[in-house]
């Protein structure tokens, strides 16, 4: 079983302010490689992942973390898919905070998740989807909690009893649940485009990415392409994450593969089917083999994509762009 978190559940305000004040928030270029960005993540950190299920997963950064043999990470994400299996199986993570965890509905219950959680090799803290969103939002807003009307009365709520507070509303007398703010150590976010300072623009589904970025102590942004700051300034109302909360910008085309990036590529379904198929036997062996082949032995991100295959890359991109065909 994973160790209990060392830090207080909710970061004291003065600590939050001090940590934020100490960050270099000036308008400066911060473009770097995946390998350089990895140094911003420490063993034991709480890492929040952008995207949801198979969408805009910061896979390239996870790939880099696994290759760098990061350990004992706590990971939070709105809904966790194969990237969670990879982080558990690689030993990078022993604690997942999420609302739902399996590769995806069509592939059934995750046997990797079952292996690590049922054998108590890893913690899986389950929060309702909205509650997790509200925890990030409170963290983004600089408040210690968010009131909510969900999770009451259920065992999902009961399992979180030591982390939430049930109160009577001082205005209305109603029952309310207070959800503790979540301020991750690091946020990993993948976007369609960003400038060298870290101003990020996202198309389509935004998931919890903006709140995660604003809540975190450090933000690593991977992006399909880096555009100029001039380009950003032509449509400032399309910027979703401001540069001063970003610590690293890494350009990684197909950085979510085999997941999707809105408008650019859909999930690599054939690869995901094959991946699921491998996990029908001994998941420890199967995952070790997968990690060996696609993670540790790949010479770099292009080689990883090459192992997935050019046809799949082209097909995923064709399907991805089709969302704009109407």
């Amino acid at each position: 079983m994973a160790a209990q978190p060392k830090a207080p559940l909710v970061k004291p305000y003065l600590q939050l302010r001090k940590e934020t004040a100490e960050r270099d928030r000036g308008l400066r270029e911060k473009v770097m490689t995946l390998e350089e960005a990895v140094t911003l993540v420490n063993d034991g950190d709480h890492v929040a992942l952008g995207g949801c299920t198979l969408s805009r997963t910061p896979m390239a950064m996870i790939w880099a973390l696994v290759r760098a043999r990061r350990k004992n990470l706590s990971v939070s994400r709105s809904i966790t898919s194969s990237e969670g299996e990879i982080m558990l199986a690689s030993g990078a993570c022993n604690h997942i905070v999420t609302s739902w965890f399996s590769q995806g509905i069509v592939w059934g219950v995750s046997r990797v998740m079952r292996h690590y959680t049922e054998k108590k090799l890893a913690r899986f803290d389950e929060w309702s989807h909205m509650s997790l969103g509200m925890r990030f939002r409170a963290g983004a807003m600089g408040i210690p909690f968010m009131p909510t009307r969900s999770m009451l009365g259920s065992d999902v709520g009961r399992m979180r009893d030591s982390e939430v507070k049930k109160i009577t509303c001082p205005f209305t007398g109603e029952d309310l649940l207070l959800l503790p703010a979540l301020n991750p150590d690091v946020a990993l976010i993948h976007v369609q485009r960003a400038d060298p300072y870290g101003n990020a623009q996202m198309d389509g589904l935004q998931f919890m990415d903006i709140d995660i970025a604003m809540a975190a102590k450090r933000v690593i942004l991977t992006t399909e392409r880096i555009i100029t700051n001039d380009q950003i300034r032509r449509t400032p109302d399309q910027t979703r994450i401001p540069f001063f909360t970003v610590d690293a910008v890494v350009e990684v085309p197909f950085g979510c593969a085999p997941h999707e990036c809105y408008g650019m590529y859909e999930p690599f379904f054939d690869h995901l089917d094959k991946y699921a198929e491998r996990n029908k036997g001994d998941v420890v062996k199967a995952m070790a083999a997968y990690l060996g082949e696609y993670y540790y032995e790949a010479k770099g991100w292009p080689d990883y994509l090459n192992k997935i295959g050019m046809s799949e890359v082209l097909d995923a991109a064709r399907r991805g762009r089709s969302v704009f065909n109407d």
Partner: protein
């Protein structure tokens, strides 16, 4: 609905989708999961409820689904095709709390006599037989709005008390739901391949409201792990019509969800 449009044969899943679709009313705002709920909501939209609005958990309001391109979950770009609006996950879920949603519509793995759903643990939480994927938005939807659940009618799925309340129905029946802090919403209908069930107004126990074509009440009871109440005016549903099945088969030509 006339018998003339009736068609056979149809699969259990198709029956489920058709019966669920008929529960939706025009103009409603429906928070739908993928699979049968999505198919049923889209069928309703294309038949009797053209002004129905579908919401997806991934952050989508009022999309059109492209036949043959069903989304793998509610969180990929296929869900946004020709949508009215795309918004962050927290904000689409907050629509439930604010009250803009009429009905939540999901599938279920395990349900009990009070309409509580479990998708978290089979067995104990300390040493589960199976750790299931968890709530997703299910807990939020069922905590904050009225619910329709569509699922296969099997004894192992219809249990007296779920091992774990992931998505709250009427909790322990009676007034226990509001006493636990949930004054709105609640389980409204459970649609299976055998029958349509509701809940007794006082005790909040599951009650058969209507039987599907060719199904007897005893058969429903046999496939249920607890004693079912039966409405005194027990109804019989009309069989799926050809037009309904045609829409489903157009939407899901590979029968991903309707096999």
């Amino acid at each position: 609905m006339t018998k003339e449009g009736a068609a056979k044969p149809y699969t259990a899943s198709e029956l489920l989708a058709v019966m669920a679709a008929r529960l939706l009313r025009d103009g409603q705002v429906v928070f739908a999961g993928v699979g049968i709920p999505l198919l049923a909501a889209t069928l309703a939209q294309r038949s009797h409820a053209p002004k129905l609005t579908i919401l997806f958990e991934g952050g989508v309001i009022g999309p059109f689904i492209v036949p043959g391109q069903l989304p793998p979950s509610t969180n990929e770009q296929r869900c946004t095709r020709r949508a009215n609006m795309v918004l962050p996950i927290a904000d689409v879920l907050l629509l439930l709390q604010r009250g803009y949603v009429d009905v939540g519509f999901m599938g279920g793995a395990q349900i009990d006599r009070f309409g509580n759903l479990n998708s978290s643990f089979i067995g104990s939480t300390d040493n589960p037989t199976i750790r299931l994927p968890g709530t997703g938005g299910g807990n939020d939807i069922s905590s904050l709005t009225q619910m329709i659940v569509a699922m296969k009618h099997e004894k192992r799925r219809f249990v007296p008390d779920v091992d774990f309340i992931t998505s709250p129905g009427w909790i322990k029946g009676g007034k226990s739901r509001e006493q636990r802090g949930l004054p709105t919403g609640g389980m409204w209908r459970v649609v299976t391949d055998l029958a349509v069930m509701g809940f007794d107004d006082e005790r909040r126990e599951m009650k058969v409201l209507a039987l599907h074509p060719g199904v007897e009440l005893a058969q429903v009871q046999q496939n249920t792990g607890f004693n079912l109440l039966a409405d005194k005016n027990l109804e019989h549903t009309e069989p799926p019509m050809r037009a309904e099945l045609d829409v489903l088969r157009d939407l899901d030509p590979q029968r991903l969800y309707t096999a």
